[in-house]
Amino acid sequence: MEPHIETVIDRNRMMVSDEIAIRIEDMNKWYGNYHVLRDINLTVKRGERIVVAGPSGSGKSTMIRCINRLEEHQAGRIIVDGIELSSDLKNIDKVRSEVGMVFQHFNLFPHLTILENCTLAPIWVREIPRKEAIDAAMHFLEKVKIPEQAHKYPGQLSGGQQQRVAIARSLCMKPKIMLFDEPTSALHPEMIKEVLDTMIELAEEGMTMLCVTHEMGFAQAVANRVIFMDQGQIVEENNPHDFFNNPQSERTRLFLSQIIRH
């Protein structure tokens, strides 16, 4: 494994407030009879950056998708930004417009230009005037360093560029929390770095982030906490330093040895 991240950012410069951004209590989820998530308990404070790791099928994606209700949980509570997720549609809408999400396969809208991708939700959900939405979008596109691509279509960009657009698109909704689900795993190796750089920049600005990733370099550089999941449960939770250098659980150790060898 090549570490893509050279600079470890100054963790102290980024304050973590005491406010709670996400709180998950005894959350359980089943797919049919299959128990995917078991008694998940997790509290994320505003400004915290959490990396979720774990073997494939351990439920990482499912957990993160429960947070903006792309999946429904069946027991326990999820409270995001003070709003409890239930089947109340109003609450779901509120939560979704506070939480941005970046997917593994970008999921840009191929029939819209980059700029339209970024302004779609602000215009139709936030009901911002088009002019303002465009300005905001251009601002975020500059931030991810591709303002010059604004009028192209997603199909015309490279994978790394697309993923950066996806991040900008989420940012345009000015979310308080960002969820990332393996944002770099569908990318060519040369492009991983440009996406990770963007994410680090975001972290430096104090965004609350919950990030499923196997980029351990990123975890070491950015995370406040690393969460290790297996078989639908949180197995270990630790600060990055201890997590990597002194893992407590047998499973974590096994996982890390595999990851690093690969």
Partner: protein
Amino acid sequence: MTERNPAFVRGEMLPAREPPAGQTGLLKLLRENFFKDWLSALLTVMSLIVSVWFVCSVFPWLFDSVWNANSLSECRQILAGAEGACFAVIRDRWTQLLFGFYPPEQYWRPVLAFALMIVALAPILFPPVPRGLLRFSVVFPGLAYWLIWGGTLWLPVVVYGGFAVGAVLLRMTGRLGAGPGAGLAIVSALTWWFVAPGPVTTVLEQLLPLSLAPVASREMGGFLLSIVIGVTGISLSLPLGIVLALGRRSKMPLVKTISVVFIEFIRGVPLITLLFTASLLLNYFLPPGTTFDLILRVIIMVTLFATAYMAEVIRGGLAALPRGQYEAAEALGLDYWKAQRLVIMPQALKISIPGIVNSFIGLFKDTTLVVFIGLLDPIALSNSIRATADWQGIYWELFIFIGALFFVFCFGMSRYSMHLERRLKTDHR
């Protein structure tokens, strides 16, 4: 809950638990599937009503059917006023619907040909079948012709001889370059076909008679006719379609234009006008005095029709091949035709098989249109059955029989082509 700071390690793993009540069981299944919201509930109820109504209205008629009678009036007597189908007509006429007026004592011939067709198709459609069988696939058309039309076996053999003559010449003239060599080979094969069949066949037949009772194509009807027209149309259209598809992709503007015009013309007019051309106009276009079998004329037009569609299917297959394949073949020094034959076509055709099967289904269904020019396909036979005094007035039973047979054929094939498509998808990944 407890604040876990800074570190948390789970001691022992939680076991999987059953989902809470209301999350499983029949009730949930019903609620989630059938009555999720009012629309879904409405649809469920409506579907149930439609199904029940259909079953109630059709099943008594079907179950109360009469199989033993010699005419419709006899059927009516047996039913004595009750609602019921009179499938006796099928019992009486099913051989006619299947074979037309093919001599009954010769039925084994088309049946055998059909069975052999499945054997011949096997190596193309089912990869596990040994490739050696492909040789049989090549021989099959001649064999089938002989079985179905009868006459001497030497005729197809001599016709195959034409290919052999062409191939030998192609070998011998290889030094001349591909163009002239191929030209010479084609000319010599054509000459062979024009000159040889008559005398050579007679001589061979005298030496070693191998004949079946000849059957005129006029005697063929029903599904036999549909299958003959459909299968011949598709298999003849395959080579022509390949040529046309290559023509359409050609860089030579004239060749390309001709191919495009031909394809678009054929695809732009209804099949029925082509069939009328076969029956009304073809005689105008041929030298005065030439007449030949209507079925042959229909097969010619149907082949032209299928060729246009086949060309588009194969063009799709060609387009799906990455450019790199062409370049690699070129870089290895293969010329255009060798590259096509050895590298491009085998792959493009494999990709196109589902499309080809679908074209065949379409064509097979379209063979019913020959009823309009007086050929006795199943629908035409159903008309002439209804014209006899015994079965005047019968209707649904015949349609159900014909429809069911078509359904079995086409559905089977379409399922198979879907299966192929899926397999292709995984092969490619």
